[in-house]
Structures are given as C-alpha cells and as structure tokens.
Subunit: 172 residues, 3 copies
C-alpha cells in the first residue's frame, strides 16, 4: 500500500534510525536509496559499513542526482528509504550551478513522484534553518532551499515527523 | 476579540504562511506590520512582490523600530500580523548600539502592549539558537536576545506554535 | 523515587528554568551540578549570581569532568539537576584530546549511572544540530557527539522534553 512518510531532524538526532525502524516494519525486501556519491575509498568503506549495519533485508543504491528515476524504477520492494534530501540538494546545487529554479523543479518532480508510488517511501531530511543566519552566501541559499524542499515534501506526505534526541514527534 | 498568537520556526519553515492563514481566518481588513526597512530599490521591489502575494485584504506598514507605537495605533483592523521579531531585534541591536537592557526593555514594552490590544495579533519569530555556538560575538549576543525575546513574548501569548517543514506544532 | 528527566532545547529556550521548576516540585534539599569550570573572577561572580537566583533550597557543585562520580555521591538530596551535558562534552573533548571513543564511553557510563540512581535527576542539554553544517572540523565533531549523547541519555530517561520559546514539548 502506498504511504509517504517524511522524517526530519537535526544532525545525529536519530532520524535515520527511526526511518529504518519504520521501514523494517514493512514486509518484503527493502531498498536503501542513498544520495551519496561514491568518490573515494574512504567513502566506499563507510558505505560498506553502513550496509552491514542495515542487514540482509536491505539492498543499497547510491544515486547522487537521479532520485526520481531511481524511485520510479524501484519495483518489487516492500519499502524504500531515501536518505537524505539535504545531501541530494547539495548535489543538485553543485550540478545546476546554484540555479534555484532548476533545483526546486527537481524537488517538485520528486513530490509529484511520491504521490504516485505504490509502495511505502520513507524520506529523511535535515533541519538546517534553526541556527544563526550564516555569513556565507551559499550556506544561506542552501538553507533556504532545504527549508522550501522540506515544506513541499512534507506537504505531499501522509505522515511527517520531527526527531529530537532520538524521540519522534508527529508533525502531521 | 483579543487573542495573541506567537509563531516560531526555523528559516523557510513555513511560519509566515501559517501566520498569514491564521490571520485570514479573522473577519475584516488585515494589517501586515513588517519590521523591514525600505532602504533601496531592490528591497522596495521585494516588498511590492510580497504585497501582491498577500492580496487585497491586506494593508502593509513597514516599521523598523516603533513596533509598539504601530501596534497601539492599529485601529479598525480585523487582525494584525507582525513579521518578524528577529528582524526587529536586529534593527534594535543596531539602533541601541548593542545595549541589551534597552533592547529587552523594548521587548517588555511589546509584551505589555500585546496583553492590552483588543484585536487578534499574530507574532512571527525565528528559532536561531539550535545550531552550534557562533564564533562571532555579535551573533552570540543576537541569539541570546532572540531566545530571551521569544520566551517573553510566548509567555504573554494565548497560543504558541512551532512550525517545522510547514507543519504547525502547538507549544501552548 | 528514582526518575530521570532529559530536557533539551536551543540557546535561551528556557530549558534550565523548566528543569529548575520541575526539580523544585520535589521535596527536600536540591543539588545543582554544574559542568562549569571556575577559571577566573568573572566566572566566579556569574556562578555566585546564579546561586543567588536559585535560592536557599539549592546547593551548587561545580564539576567539569567527573559527573558520574558526583552523581553517584549525591546522597540525601531530594533531586539533582545536571546543567549541562553539552558543556560537559566540551570539557571532555578538550580533556580527552578529541578521542570520540573515550568521550562516548563517558556518556555511556553516565547513562548507566542514571538508571541506578534512587533520586530524581534532571539532565539539561542543548540542541546544536539544527543549523547549517559548520565549516570548522571541531564544531562538526562536537555537534555529532552532542547529538549522539542526547540520543543515548534520552533513551534511558523516563521522560524527555524539548523546550522552545519557554514552552515544554513532551518528547517521551
């Protein structure tokens, strides 16, 4: 059954663990869709370690940019976990050379795709807008994009959660 | 009927949109009280664009410092939206040359005024204290002032809300 | 009766005030366990001022590192307030020369101690992970440690709260 769950929180708030537990409550094989780019041996080792932690029910797909295509092609899984929106946005920011319109178009395509999937999807994102205004222009642009993306994705989700200190708070 | 609603959240969390929707549920003409300073043509254009988005029920008043006077003189409106406390605090910080006592006095005057108004007021502020401690002294002072102001204003409000990813969480 | 209450929030969110009010609802003498280091006359004066604010029911103990020992030896009190985890972590970070394993071992010892105490303990911490990713490597390490510590301490607590704008939100 289709179900979109949006999960946000600060760094090391426990949001990915909560998302993983929720996904593991679904029957069948599970897809971990990572926005990470495998760029060097250190990253490859970390991804390998994360895979081992998740265990045998999970398959992992690294996809830095084409998240919509990866989700649309995710057939036969009991659930998908996409981790995370903010890393994907930082990849898009680089790829689209800071063009906000192109980046938010990609977010809107993801939002539209989420409403059409036929399996549960768990979307993890980060809260990055509750600190002091960054002095760095690119950091300000990034936090505006992340806040806007979080709003648009939570808007189409069936459930939204804020995780703090490992505890999930239901937002919607 | 008097009613004070305090609304906080991170950057691009959807707090202003939530405040606007709440205000629009009140009958009568609406006042948008902006802490912004109209300093140049770019700012004037942005303010004009924001006015157009809010639509015909809204009047806009830009007031960088004298928020208490502006609120006290807001007669004949069905509701007032003040957006936002943190921008006002940064104007006060500059105007009072970082004198914390004068700035917090102004916050206390605003809090006292809120309890005496006879129309609904929606107060928007920002969460700026949930990141790492800033290295910049002025940024640390600002986040302390913003946190203190948020506490004092929420304390006199009838309702307080935290908005995350576009979803309002009731604080009080 | 044993009871562990974990309280987190941003800077100047009202978390310490909430913790103090909760502790003062317990009968008997109260211990304020401060992670602060008394390093100079200015710090001594600030600590003295804080003591005066807390009033006669409170005794204060400054302990920069040995929090587990201080808690284990806290006999005869009606409740203990430990303020705060993040200051203690920054002391540990310096003391253990950034060795994450030693620091997280200390956190785990604190968590284990909390489950064995026979009086109520109120633990205050800070949210530091909801801003933009810090450029400074040590700041990134610190926010990862703080997030992990918050998760581990909230996990063993009987109650967890997030305070925003002076308003407590129950996390668990």
């Amino acid at each position: 059954m289709a179900r979109t769950v949006f999960i946000t929180g600060g760094a090391r708030s426990g949001k990915s663990t909560f998302a993983q537990q929720q996904a593991e409550a679904c029957p069948g094989p599970l897809l971990y869709l990572a926005a990470a780019r495998v760029e060097d041996a250190e990253m490859a080792a970390r991804i390998q370690a994360h895979r081992a932690v998740r265990g045998a029910r999970w398959q992992t797909l690294e996809e830095p940019l084409e998240i919509v295509r990866a989700l649309s092609g995710a057939c036969g899984y009991g659930a998908v976990l996409f981790d995370c929106v903010t890393l994907w946005l930082s990849n898009l920011l680089f790829h689209h050379q800071e063009d906000q319109t192109l980046i938010l178009n990609a977010v809107d395509q993801l939002a539209a795709t989420l409403t059409q999937l036929e399996i549960p999807v768990f979307i993890v994102s980060n809260e990055v807008g509750s600190g002091i205004v960054p002095e760095n222009r690119l950091a300000r642009l990034f936090r505006d994009l992340a806040g806007t993306a979080n709003q648009r994705l939570a808007a189409v989700a069936d459930e939204a959660w804020l995780v703090a200190a490992g505890c999930p708070l239901r937002l919607k």
